[in-house]
Structures are given as structure tokens and as C-alpha cells.
Symmetry: C2
Subunit: 170 residues, 2 copies
């Protein structure tokens, strides 16, 4: 698909090294969510995203977080999070509590049942992460992956919304 010249700017097509890296990254990005979802759904009846939401709450002070904060940490839009939390609330895993200091705001609070759900789901999830991601890599590759991730997130997530996890993280 090498088009003739004369575009506003010449497109720099990918060389072999770039293509190799890119195709593999795309494949991983495409496949990983399915694997995570399948395992969690089968063993705990949770989406990976739902699990992630519960996990974030479980690590938060008082097991409580403002919807906006939670949305940032999970990289969700507010509508998405609102729907998910409503469903989790229907299942008794999360509670919505109006925030006393700012009456516009809502605090999402992990219930005891929600805590149990995370605790139950965690080992299987960690095991999946190990077998599919961590164990196949050498220690050196883990460090490389961390560095690569940082570089990518610098442009993918310039505000560092999701990286609150790393910096202040638990």
C-alpha cells in the first residue's frame, strides 16, 4: 500500500523492527483482556474491570473512594463507572454513600460481601496473571516491560490518572 508521493507529509512507514514490535503489541492487547475476563468470569462471576474496581476500593482508605477518583484509577468514563457500580450495588458488593462534604459527590464503599468477593477472586486471578504474563518473562524482561510501560504511558496517559497506583500506591 505504498501510495505515490505527494501527500501533505510523507508517511514514514514502519521498518521491520518497528513492525515486529507493533504487531506483537497489538496481538497482546487484543488477546489479554479476553483471557483475564474468561478466568474471572468463570471462577468469580466478575469482569476484569469489575474486579479491578473492587480491588481499587479494597486498597483505599476506609474501602471508600469518590466516583470521580475511582473512574480515574480504573481509566473509566464516569457513565461507565456509574453503570458498573449500580450493578455491583445490586449484587451487594458495593454501597453508594452520598458524600457529606460535597453533596454533589457520591462515595463508593466496598461492603463486606464485596471484600470477600475480592479475597476469593484474587488467588485465581493472580495465578492467571502469573501463567500468562509474569512467568513467561525473565526478571530482566520484567524491568524492561516496566520501563517500556512508563514510556508509553507518558503519551497514552499524560495526566497520569491511572498511574496514581504506582506513585502513592499501596
Amino acid at each position: 500500500m505504498e501510495s505515490e508521493a505527494t501527500e501533505t507529509a510523507e508517511t514514514r512507514w514502519l521498518d521491520q523492527t518497528e513492525r515486529d514490535a507493533w504487531l506483537r503489541l497489538v496481538a497482546v492487547v487484543e488477546l489479554l483482556p479476553g483471557v483475564l475476563d474468561a478466568q474471572l468470569r468463570g471462577s468469580a462471576g466478575l469482569t476484569h474491570f469489575e474486579y479491578f474496581v473492587l480491588a481499587m476500593l479494597s486498597e483505599a482508605r476506609e474501602r471508600t473512594l469518590r466516583m470521580t477518583t475511582l473512574a480515574q484509577r480504573t481509566n473509566a468514563t464516569l457513565p461507565r463507572l456509574s453503570h458498573v457500580v449500580r450493578r455491583l450495588e445490586d449484587r451487594g458488593l458495593v454501597e453508594r454513600v452520598p458524600c457529606p462534604e460535597d453533596r454533589r459527590a457520591t462515595n463508593a464503599h466496598l461492603t463486606d460481601a464485596g471484600w470477600d468477593a475480592v479475597v476469593d477472586a484474587a488467588p485465581g486471578h493472580v495465578e492467571t496473571v502469573r501463567t500468562h504474563v509474569l512467568d513467561p518473562l525473565t526478571r530482566e524482561q520484567l524491568s524492561q516491560l516496566r520501563a517500556i510501560g512508563d514510556s508509553l504511558l507518558a503519551t497514552l496517559d499524560p495526566e497520569g490518572r491511572m498511574t496514581a497506583l504506582f506513585d502513592g500506591g499501596a
Copy 2:
């Protein structure tokens, strides 16, 4: 779900290095699809997956591929691909042709309009990939990413369905 305490095997939790790598990978996996979709949708009215389908066809012999083969290369389930191809056909970008050799099978063929759509969309897409993925990384990191990707795909995609791109690829 998990029955009583102290499961069959003690869970090996993540150490710092593992956690660092994993959280960044999750963040990238979560953010990248959105970025790709947004750019392609805005500039070409295509999903990244739709673009990928068209791109696979554009590189195939005769610009034609069996549905099953196309599904494997794009890591789609057959129902998903069927729906997507129908929509692409409605827009005149793809044609369905019954396969003469195997009358169960259907060949998806890229129309001229479909070819044009890929050619139009490609530069912007490549540019996005550059700015968000390739350019932030050093040449060495690209090689590392390739190796890491290979290791992950060994377990994520054991049959190597998606890797047909690398090996025989064009």
C-alpha cells in the same frame, strides 16, 4: 467460590518488580484500544478492528480471504467477524463471495472502495502508532518489546493463530 481456607497451593503474591510491570501492562492494555479507536473513528469512520480486517484483506492474495482464516488473523470469533463483515458489506467496502471449491465457505473480498478506505486511513493510523507507541521507545526497547511479545504470545495464543502475520506475513 474457592472453598475453604488455605487453598491447594499458597498463592504467590506479586513482588515489587512483578507488580510494577503488571500494572503498567494493564494500563497500556486498557488505554491503547481507546486511542486507536478514537483516531480511526474520527478520521476514517472505522473501528480499529474494522481497519485491521480491511488491512488483512489488503495484504492477502487477490485481496480475498476465507472467513475462517480472516477470523484467525484478526483474533475474532466467527460470529463477530460475520457481523462486522456484514456491516462493512453494507458500506460497500467488502464483498462476500461464495467459495467455489467449498460451498460451505465464504470468501471476503476487499472492494476498490474498501482498498481506498484503507489507503486513506493508513497514514493517519501509522502516525498515531508512531506518536503513541513507536517514537517514545528506543530501538533497543523495540527489540525488547518484540521478544517480550513473543514470550507472552506463546501462552496467550498457543496455536499461533494471530502470528501467521509474522511468519508468512507480507
